[in-house]
């Protein structure tokens, strides 16, 4: 609980400081650099912990089922929101299927409509931010299932939190889960925009 409180406080402080400053280009550069160092540490920790091929095979199987759950869940969530709000179902479904990958969803949807682009970016940034806070709370009881809330971010930005609170087995599952979703998102969103 102490870590969750610290994380939430730091996020709020960061958001407040970000709100006061107009340009945060420095933050995104630092974010990238930090991300790579985190992935480096995760790679080292996974190797230290994973001792058998069985663990890897088990994580792969879990990750596939989890990725299917995340895609179906996100799509259903988008359909529910589209049904609740008057308007077209298509953009809500596309935004929901962004599954945390805001750097792709936002710019891609901006090509069609500026508002959808803004929605795609903001919703998916917040999905990532919410994962930082919600995953540690759920990790004790649902360390594997809760990976699905992070969507595609589980292979990079939220992976450290998953590794820290869910353990190395969860980290390995999260990495594969995020990888599968990262491959699927650039196929699913254009498909939704074209077909519906």
């Amino acid at each position: 609980m102490k870590h969750v409180a610290v994380i939430t406080t730091l996020f709020i402080i960061g958001a407040f400081l970000g709100f006061l400053n107009e340009s945060m280009s420095g933050a995104s550069i630092a974010l990238n650099a930090l991300l790579y160092s985190l992935i480096f540490i995760i790679g080292a920790l996974v190797v230290l912990e994973v001792r058998s091929i069985e663990v890897i095979a088990f994580s792969l199987k879990l990750a596939l089922m989890l990725a299917a759950s995340t895609v179906i869940g996100s799509a259903l969530g988008g359909i529910i929101v589209g049904a609740l709000i008057e308007g077209s179902l298509k953009p809500y479904l596309a935004v929901a299927l962004g599954m945390g990958w805001y750097t792709f969803t936002g710019p891609f949807l901006s090509i069609t409509n500026n508002y959808w682009g803004l929605l795609g970016f903001t919703s998916n940034v917040l999905r990532e931010a919410a994962t930082f806070i919600i995953y540690p709370l759920l990790a004790k009881k649902f360390s594997i299932e809760a990976i699905s809330i992070g969507g595609a971010t589980t292979m990079d930005t939220t992976l450290p939190v998953i590794a820290r609170y869910g353990g190395e087995k969860a980290a390995l599952t999260a990495l594969v889960h995020g990888f599968i979703l990262t491959l699927l998102i650039p196929i699913l969103i254009p498909l939704i925009m074209e077909l519906l």
Binding site: H3, V6, I7, L10, F11, G14, A15, L17, G18, F19, L20, N21, E22, M24, L31, L34, L35, Y36, S37, L38, I39, F40, I41, G43, A44, L45, V47, L48, M65, L66, A68, S69, I72, G73, S74, L76, G77, G78, I80, Y92, V95, L119, T122, V125, R127, A129, A130, F132, I134, F142, E145, A146, S148, I149, G151, M155, T157, P160, V161, R164
Partner: protein, 99 residues
């Protein structure tokens, strides 16, 4: 994307080398976990900075009505997919007997 895999592979490789050189693996694990915690704190602060900056930009571009619609849409689009995904994952993995 390539950078992510490269960093991951480098981390794994370094760890393999350290396992051979370093005898006290527990100490190494503790140090890595500590570095991980510190990095998470900095990362969360930076994500907050970016989010706050983004909200400020959105407020500058549009009026209050637009912001109201955006807040409702975003709140629903964050909550619904996350909740339904989690429920399906629990149903499939736990009730399906995979965990």
């Amino acid at each position: 994307m390539l950078g992510v895999y490269l960093a991951l592979a480098l981390g794994a490789l370094t760890s393999l080398l350290m396992k051979r050189v370093c005898r006290d693996v527990d100490r190494l694990r503790k140090s890595l976990n500590r570095a991980l915690s510190i990095n998470i704190y900095v990362l969360v602060t930076l994500v907050g900075l970016s989010a706050g900056s983004g909200v400020r930009e959105a407020l500058g571009v549009s009026g209050a009505l637009f912001i109201h619609r955006l807040v409702v849409d975003v709140a629903l689009l964050v909550a619904a997919p996350m909740t339904v995904s989690l429920l399906i994952a629990v149903a499939v993995l736990r009730l399906g007997g995979r965990l």
